[in-house]
Structures are given as structure tokens and as C-alpha cells.
């Protein structure tokens, strides 16, 4: 498909058309691509680095890197898949950064645990009783801790699949594994979580 440079980016519907416009120097077309994929990119980064602030930083880095590499994009794969792969590499680089490791080591764990939670999440729902809300909060706290302790491969697959923004194909492209492996990892992560929750006393009728 060849994009016409005379067409406005707002009228272009496909990513490839926008990419062609951006390759031709149309900054507005690239802005449209950013707006279209910012949520998927941000959540992929968040699944990896777990901190919204860091995920935002990674998102910016990924879009900047994508813009600079845009001339090399040939269209063999979908732009979104290509962009997410860039994002995941940036996020993994950030996760394994020694500077980040030093900062997290110095930072108390309790601060990190609450970093991704909004104030709304911490308030009990008005529809539930206070006792149910407390029990649910405890359950969620246990689950959050168990998800953090999952093996990295299982955790990445589970969080990416649970974000609601990525297909199994996209997750496979990000993690560089077949789709079947992604599915197995998600299933295995859930099995491990349920087993550990059962050991904690949850899951009995």
C-alpha cells in the first residue's frame, strides 16, 4: 500500500500509511502514531519495570528510538509489533540497569509496593461492606506479593497478557518466543499463583 503525501494524517487509517508519511517527514503523522499506541507501549513498559514513572520514561525512549529508526522500517511486520519489540528491549535494559538496581536497593520495599496504586484503589468500595473490603484488600496484597515473586518469564507473560492491550502474537514477538510458549507461561503463572494462595489458606470451599 502506498500512502499519498497529499492526504492528511487524520484521514489515514492504517499504521503503514502513517509510517510512510512520517518517513517522508510528516511530524503530525508520527504524532498520530504516538497517540494511537501510547497505551499499549506504556503498559508493556509497566509490565516490565513495574513503576509508572519509569514506564513513562521507557515509553518516551521507545517512541524516540522508533522515530530515529523509522527509515529502516520496511513494513515486513506490523508497526505496532515492531514498536512493542523496541519498547520491551528498552524496558528490559531499564530493568537490568545497575543505576536502577542501586536505587531500588536503597529504596524501602514498602514505598515501591504502593507506588503503582492510586488513592482510589486504597479506599474501600461503597458497595461492599467494610469487612469484605478488608478481606479483599488482604487477598490482593497477598497476590501482589506472589506475582512479584514469580519467575521473571512467567510474570512477564502474565502481566502482558493481563494488560488487555496485547495479543498473544504481540507478546510472543516482544518476548521472542512462540505463541504456544506464551500461553503456557500464562497458564503456569496462574497455576503457581493458585497453588501458593491455596497454601496460604485461600481457595477452599
Amino acid at each position: 500500500m502506498t500512502a499519498s503525501l497529499a492526504v492528511s494524517p487524520a484521514e489515514v487509517t492504517t499504521d503503514l500509511d502513517l509510517v510512510r508519511l512520517a518517513q517522508a517527514g510528516d511530524a503530525e503523522a508520527f504524532g498520530t502514531l504516538v497517540e494511537r499506541h501510547r497505551r499499549a507501549v506504556f503498559r508493556a513498559a509497566l509490565a516490565c519495570v513495574r513503576s509508572p514513572a519509569e514506564a513513562d520514561d521507557v515509553t518516551q525512549e521507545a517512541f524516540v528510538a522508533a522515530f530515529r529508526k523509522l527509515a529502516a522500517f520496511r513494513g515486513d511486520a506490523q508497526f505496532r509489533t515492531w514498536l512493542l519489540a523496541i519498547t520491551w528491549r528498552k524496558a528490559v535494559d531499564r530493568r537490568t540497569s545497575i543505576v536502577r538496581w542501586l536505587r531500588l536497593t536503597a529504596e524501602p520495599a514498602d514505598d515501591r509496593a504502593d507506588q503503582g496504586r492510586s488513592e482510589v484503589d486504597r479506599l474501600p468500595s461503597g458497595e461492599r461492606s467494610q469487612e469484605d473490603a478488608a478481606a479483599d484488600a488482604e487477598l490482593q496484597r497477598h497476590l501482589s506479593r506472589l506475582i512479584r515473586t514469580l519467575p521473571r518469564k512467567l510474570r512477564d507473560a502474565l502481566l502482558l497478557a493481563g494488560s488487555g492491550e496485547h495479543t498473544y502474537q504481540e507478546i510472543g514477538a516482544m518476548l521472542a518466543v512462540p505463541v504456544g510458549t506464551v500461553k503456557w507461561r500464562v497458564s503456569e503463572a496462574r497455576r503457581v499463583l493458585k497453588m501458593k494462595m491455596t497454601a496460604l489458606g485461600y481457595g477452599h470451599e
Binding site: 509497566l46 518516551q60 497476590l143
Partner: protein, 256 residues
């Protein structure tokens, strides 16, 4: 409050926990921030692998520095108490020589030179702390037996001598079932000791003539010997005795 949850509830709880982690909206204004970054000059930082490599290099440097700082303290001369302990230990081992040492001292027909009467390395270490015997041994090595007499050193009879019967007793005690072999060893040892000139009594009076020159030479040699005591030529290879013939096995591997 209860922990009773059905498996389906657990699945839902897992879904909610995962969503709570990742279903976060990106902050607004992303496009503007990306444009600002694109407009900014390229900032090149160290790659991740370079960061870890730098950290590893720093750690290795610190370890090396630690080792280098620790070595001089280990190599420093010990406290007087430590030196005294070393001397005591050496003397204790001298007081109770092993069967091999006794055989080396008494059972072998020793040549007239001073090298054959040299103490084992551990004994030489003990003598280093004494200082006086160091001079004696250096004089014997450099200038021959006459120098020892010129230095007015006491004769070697004062040194603890080990008799052949003691060797026989020790061997008998160690191997009571081979008393016949031990008695043969004792008789051979007696003959060897009788044929060996004892250090000090074997000094020739003619060799003591240039006493002054030899004294200076012996002093210098004593200093040099003290400096390289650890590789003293007084070390002798361990003597091996054939248990059947009770004869020393010639050391064919000995370096010239």
C-alpha cells in the same frame, strides 16, 4: 473475615490483581514529551553491559587493593612472643626427632665435611633466632672447620647426640614385631657412628692459622646466610633406607 475462596474466585482475584498492576493510564502529554526529546541533543549514556562491566572492574580493583594492603602485614616480622613461640616449637621438634631424622644423623656414614653434620631445615630456623649458631654454621660452610675454632665457638659435643641404641630402641618401639631388623640397624648404626668424626673433634689445628681473616670472612658469610636462610644449602634431602638391607638408598634424583 474469611479466607474461604473458591477456585473461580481465585481466578477472578488473580485477574483483578494483574489488572491493578498493569491497567494504569499513561500520563497525558506524551506526544509533547516525545517531541521535546526528539528536539533535544542526543544524550549518550553507558550501555547496560558497560555499566555492569564497570561495576565488576571496580569490585575487582577493590579486592586487589584489599589483598595488596593485607600482604605486607602478613609478611611483616612477627612479635617477639611469636618469634619465641617459633623457637620453642623448633626446639621441641629438635628434642624429639623423628626416626628418619635420627637415622639421617647417626645411621649414615657421614663424610668428614661439615655439610653432613648440618641440621635439618627446621633446626636451622631455630638457630636463626639464636644468632650464634648461625655464625658457626656459616663459618663452617665458607672457611671449613678451622673457622669455627677461630671464632671460639664451643665444640659440637655440646649438641644433643643421639646414640645408636636410642635409634634401635625407637625403632623397636615403633615396630615391635621387627626386633631382629632393629637390632641389625643398631649394630650398623654403631659402626657408622664410630667411623664418623664428630664435629669439633675433627678440626685440624693447621686450618686454624689464618684466624683473623677467617673471622671477617665468616662474619660476612653469616650475614649473607642470614639473608637467605630460607634457601640455606644446609638442607639435606630426606634419607631413604631400604627396610630389607638396612642400607641407605642412593638419591639419584638429587640435583648437583
Amino acid at each position: 473475615m474469611s479466607n474461604q475462596q473458591s477456585p473461580s474466585n481465585l481466578d477472578e482475584a488473580i485477574d483483578r490483581a494483574v489488572r491493578r498492576i498493569v491497567e494504569v493510564e499513561p500520563p497525558p502529554g506524551l506526544e509533547g514529551r516525545v517531541r521535546a526529546r526528539l528536539a533535544a541533543p542526543v544524550r549518550r549514556g553507558l550501555p547496560v553491559s558497560m555499566g555492569w562491566a564497570a561495576a565488576a572492574a571496580m569490585l575487582a580493583l577493590m579486592l586487589a587493593a584489599g589483598v595488596m594492603l593485607r600482604e605486607p602485614r602478613d609478611a611483616a616480622p612477627g612479635a617477639p612472643a611469636q618469634q619465641a613461640a617459633e623457637v620453642d616449637e623448633a626446639r621441641a621438634s629438635q628434642a624429639a626427632p623423628s626416626i628418619d631424622q635420627m637415622a639421617a644423623l647417626n645411621a649414615v656414614p657421614q663424610p668428614a665435611g661439615p655439610v653432613a653434620t648440618a641440621p635439618p631445615p627446621l633446626e636451622a630456623k631455630a638457630r636463626k633466632a639464636d644468632g650464634r649458631d648461625e655464625r658457626e654454621m656459616a663459618a663452617l660452610l665458607v672457611a671449613g672447620p678451622g673457622a669455627a675454632a677461630a671464632l671460639n665457638l664451643p665444640p659440637a659435643e655440646s649438641a644433643p647426640s643421639i646414640s645408636a641404641s636410642a635409634v634401635a630402641d625407637t625403632v623397636t618401639a615403633a615396630r615391635p614385631s621387627t626386633t631382629a631388623v632393629a637390632s641389625r640397624l643398631a649394630s650398623r648404626s654403631r659402626a657408622a657412628v664410630a667411623a664418623t668424626p664428630v664435629m669439633g673433634t675433627a678440626l685440624d689445628a693447621n686450618e686454624a692459622a689464618p684466624a683473623t681473616a677467617l673471622t671477617d670472612k665468616a662474619d660476612g658469610a653469616a650475614k649473607a646466610s642470614a639473608d637467605r636462610l630460607e634457601i640455606s644449602p644446609l638442607r639435606l634431602p630426606p634419607l631413604r633406607i631400604d627396610p630389607l638391607t638396612i642400607a641407605p638408598i642412593p638419591d639419584t634424583d638429587r640435583q648437583p
